[in-house]
């Protein structure tokens, strides 16, 4: 193992002129790549889709989806610490109002309605995109604030590649990754293994001003994903995927607690199969998935031991028909069974959901406009029928000025915890519903060596029957008690400059303003009316500068997060913070293979900050990475 490392290191000192041969599916940093939007967004007219840069997905510091999104987007990721639980909040909505879709299937846990982003490895996916806004009509429950789309398209051409990666960093952070990509004309296979761990014993300043090391914060996790696609006929293919992840995480004490012995253990297996039939005017997609997730939490000091076992089975059949010269119809049916086994339920509980959804897309190619009208009929077992409409418009005023518009009705069904937790759960809870509206405009110009894009979106949505746990007497009850109004402005820009095949410079900047306020009192003397939701920053901004020269690259990310309130009366707040990271990388090709080494400096200015009150976060840290891309079989796609 050590000898191999030395051989790899020798390559570092052997400079080669950068080869023009590009290796498919690896980091392409000197060409402007038109990244196509994921196919799920074909009918989401009017919603802003932000595709995450492929290079950013491969940055060692962005190993988990939580880190990737908090670094690369202005969406707010509530993280309990390095490697700890991380959940996303988009447009002021909570984590259960943002959907994480894996090849179109929603990954939320039946018990909580959320997904822990720290357990999703960025390297397991080829395409990651964020969709801002409500999309329940197409994707079902929980899509009020936005969605994260994870996907991987098959690669049906001759190729055989191995990717080996080893990262090591401050505070005992280590990661090893091995990926095997293989394909032929009628077969595509990806298998990626990842093992990582970190001691997380970073120094931080406790409330008394002493510098102490964070105790009991080590994490260890292992996972793999295998994705196999087969061409099954002239115009059909079958995709099967298995995704496994386990994580064992020590839960550190907060900075005002002396000690913790709590440990959180997670393990999930997610499987899915997808059969596509693609004809000239007709497309059929049958997708099925089964997710099995176990989580145990043990705190010997508090004598707490809990076990959460979630299972989800989902089936989705979607048809896309070209009904006319510029018209398409999407019609689908989806069914979902959710089962959770938790001590607090006293018996296994389940939920059965089904929906019919459809969208009618009309294209106006002469003026460059697209419009879609959608509707979803929700026929869940435990709720009355409901119909949700949506209308969206995507177009341009002249070549360079895109416009977007979308109005939709969205919903979130109560989670199994909200319905069945004993005591306090309420099986009679109604789904939360919302009306969402947004409009966006921008400017885009693509030249031979310069690409400019600016955009601004205004949005407003009102959620009714928002479920909160409220104290009544000595107990807490889940009630459809709150109304939340969230509105704001999102501004983003991108400037990419590539004068020749040696230099490139890309700048992207964004700013989000989000006012999400409680519009109902939960009791007579509730001082929270009209106040900002907790842990929802009003201001959030980011700047990214990426410069490349031949095979060298420097990327700087600067993220500013404004203050957040920690109490519903907004009388306590955590200060805002500015985080800056730098990535320096160099790639060395040799024949058809490539070596990439990089160094990341995270939190360059050693900012003393917390995301969640009294949960310490690391100061400046380093991460070094060595990646080897070995091409065994090579053909251009």
């Amino acid at each position: 193992m050590h000898r191999l490392l030395i051989i790899i290191l020798l390559f570092i000192f052997w400079k080669n002129a950068f080869s023009q041969e590009t290796v498919p599916d690896t980091v392409i940093n000197l060409q402007l790549v038109t990244i196509s939007e994921p196919k799920e967004t074909l009918f989401t007219q009017g919603l802003r889709v932000a595709v995450i840069d492929a290079a950013a997905m491969q940055a060692p510091a962005n190993s988990s989806l939580g880190e990737l999104i908090s670094r690369e987007t202005p969406a707010y990721v509530k993280s309990y610490g390095q490697g700890s639980i991380a959940t996303i909040s988009m447009r002021g909505a909570s984590a259960s109002h943002t959907g994480i879709l894996w090849n179109g299937l929603n990954l939320y846990q039946p018990s909580t309605g959320m997904t822990d982003l720290s357990l999703v490895k960025s390297a397991f996916f080829e395409d990651i995109a964020l969709v801002y806004g409500g999309s329940s009509v197409l994707f079902g429950s929980g899509m009020i604030g936005g969605a994260i789309l994870l996907g991987h398209e098959p690669s049906f051409y001759d190729h055989g590649r191995i990717r080996l990666e080893f990262n090591t960093g401050s505070f005992g952070r280590k990661e090893a990754l091995a990926g095997f990509y293989f394909g032929k004309e009628n077969l595509s296979s990806r298998t990626i293994f990842a093992i990582s761990g970190s001691k997380n014993d970073f120094p931080y300043r406790d409330p008394s001003g002493n510098i102490v090391e964070l105790p009991h914060a080590a994490t260890e996790n292992a996972g793999f994903i295998h994705d196999l696609s087969l061409v099954t006929g002239e115009d059909s293919d079958l995709q099967v995927a298995v995704w496994y992840q386990d994580a064992s995480r020590e839960v550190p004490p907060t900075s005002i607690m002396a000690v913790s012995e709590a440990v959180l253990y997670d393990r999930f297996v997610r499987t899915m199969a997808n059969w596509n039939l693609s004809r000239e005017k007709y497309e059929l997609q049958v997708t099925g998935g089964y997710f099995n997730e176990l989580e145990t939490y043990r705190d010997p000091l508090a004598e707490v031991s809990s076990r959460i076992y979630n299972q989800t089975a989902v089936i989705k059949i979607g048809n896309r028909i070209v009904t006319g010269k510029n018209q398409q119809l999407l019609a689908g049916i989806s069914g979902r069974m959710e089962i959770a086994d938790i001590d607090a339920y006293q018996e296994v509980k389940s939920d059965l959901r089904s929906s019919l959804y459809g969208s009618y897309l009309v294209l106006f190619p002469s003026i460059g406009w697209k419009g879609s009208l959608g509707a979803r009929l929700v026929a869940d077992r435990d709720y009355p029928l409901s119909i949700l409409p949506s209308v969206g418009l995507d177009g341009k005023i002249s070549r360079n000025f895109p416009l977007r518009f979308n109005v939709s009705r969205n919903f979130r069904s109560p989670t199994l915890n909200e319905r069945y937790w004993t005591p306090g759960g309420n099986p009679g809870l109604k789904p939360e519903t919302s009306w969402n509206a947004e409009a966006g405009a921008g400017y885009e110009k693509k030249g031979a060596s310069l690409e400019l894009a600016f955009g601004a979106t205004v949005f407003s949505y009102l959620v009714n029957d928002w479920i909160l746990w409220v104290p009544r007497g000595a107990l807490w009850y889940a009630e459809n008690i709150l109304q939340v109004w969230s509105r704001g402005v999102e501004i983003h820009g991108k400037q990419a400059f590539e004068p020749n095949d040696r230099w490139s410079l890309t700048l992207s900047e964004n700013y989000h303003f989000t006012r999400a306020t409680r519009e109902k009192k939960i009791s007579e003397n509730d001082q929270g009316l009209g106040k900002q939701l907790i842990y929802t920053p009003v201001h959030s901004a980011g700047l990214k500068v990426a410069a490349g020269y031949r095979q060298y690259r420097v990327v700087t990310n600067i993220n500013a997060t404004g203050p957040v309130y920690t109490t519903t009366d907004n009388e306590h707040a955590l200060p805002g913070y500015l985080l800056s990271d730098i990535l320096l990388s160099a790639r060395y090709p040799w024949r058809f293979h490539e070596l990439e080494i990089s160094l990341s400096v995270l939190n360059v200015f050693d900012e003393d900050y917390v995301v969640v009150e009294y949960r310490p976060m690391p100061g400046i840290s380093f991460l070094a990475s060595v990646k080897l891309f070995i091409n065994v079989i090579r053909t251009d796609p």
Binding site: L468, V470, P471, G473, A474, E613, Y614
Partner: protein, 350 residues
């Protein structure tokens, strides 16, 4: 001519000195004025967040927030369970931070911070000694001169509130994270357990009445609003602290409604019991406890000011914002209210 000039020159200086001194008199409080003040204990949000102390004037109900943080520049810690004043010193049990904070009652400046596992309540026994109960199923002896933890006294589960009666310490065994139904009697001269008295399920409150009898309130087993088969009703027991025996018990009729707090009036002849929907009042010689009709509403904590009989009830609203403390007169009418911190739960009276 010089004298008047001198006078004119000095006058502004004298006047500003007078103003300065009078200002000082208003802002610097004499050390023993704290007797007019009481301290609200705010548990703080769980698990991320710090509890706090709110000081208020017992007559005017003016309040000052986060007094420990202001005095010491650091937060109290997670889940502040209780505060007790003993010989001019404030002892604060910070349950989830595993600390007993010791501070001056007048300035709140910290004297010492002791490591104690899961502390619940402090009881001052003499000028040199105190006890702190811990959900580690132990009572620790505290040396109040050196501010150190000394011996350990093992106990049945969840030692909680403690009272001194008949020269002995009565410790309620609340069960901690489980259920228990006992009161442990400890001799503070020897720090040994003398006996254990069995009462009802989940003893949650204890007061001494005018006849020097010990009253213990038991919550009973079960969740309010979620009746289950093995629920037991709440109860009140009058114990003779000299004989360590129960003299009288009142078992409540409804086993699905569980009281949580016990307090006694200023004259120590009327008992107040806090139920989920209000406060019930009973004379110590009455046969049974009436319905909770004295004060209606749902409250988290209940305390009575021993000097004037004012009944204080706390309201944490949604437990994620600053709460309220309501002041009621002994006849049940609302007198006043004051803002407290996050999850106000009890009050320490000097």
């Amino acid at each position: 001519m010089k004298k008047p000039l001198h006078f004119l020159f000095l006058l502004p200086i004298v006047i500003s000195m007078m103003l300065f001194l009078s200002c000082e008199r208003n802002t610097i409080e004499p050390e023993n004025e704290y007797e007019n003040k009481a301290v609200v204990v705010n548990e703080g949000p769980f698990p991320n967040g710090s509890g706090s102390l709110t000081v208020f004037d017992r007559n005017t109900h003016e309040s000052g927030q986060e007094v420990f943080l202001s005095a010491n520049g650091r937060p109290l810690g997670n889940v502040v369970q209780s505060a007790t004043v003993h010989h001019d010193v404030l002892y604060v049990a910070v349950n989830n931070s595993n600390k007993l904070e010791i501070a001056h009652i007048d300035s709140f400046v910290s004297i010492a911070s002791l490591d104690v596992s899961l502390p619940r309540y402090f009881l001052g026994i003499s000028e040199e000694k105190g006890y702190v109960s811990s959900w580690n199923d132990e009572v620790y002896v505290v040396d109040l001169v050196k501010n150190r933890i000394g011996d350990t006294i093992s106990c049945p589960t969840g030692p909680d509130r403690m009272v001194l009666a008949g020269g002995k310490v009565f410790v309620l065994n609340s069960g901690g994270f489980q259920n228990d139904n006992r009161v442990t009697v400890i001799d503070p001269q020897t720090d040994q357990v003398v006996t254990v008295v069995t009462v009802g399920d989940n003893p949650s409150g204890a007061v001494i009445d005018r006849d020097d009898k010990l009253w213990v309130l038991c919550a009973g087993k079960g969740w309010n609003g979620f009746p289950a088969a093995d629920d037991t009703p709440g109860s009140l027991h009058r114990i003779d602290p000299l004989q360590n025996e129960i003299e009288r018990s009142i078992i409540f009729t409804d086993s699905s409604v569980h009281p949580s707090r016990l307090a006694i009036s200023g004259e120590r002849n009327r008992l107040y019991v806090l139920f989920p929907d209000g406060v019930a009042v009973m004379g110590i010689d009455d046969a049974e406890l009436p319905s909770p009709d004295l004060i209606r509403g749902n409250f988290y904590g209940m305390e009575v000011d021993p000097s004037n009989g004012m009944i204080y009830l706390t309201d944490p609203v949604d437990y994620v914002q600053n709460g309220w403390v309501y002041a009621y007169l002994p006849d049940g009418s609302l007198s006043d209210s004051l803002r407290a911190g996050i999850i106000p739960s009890s009050i320490a009276f000097p």
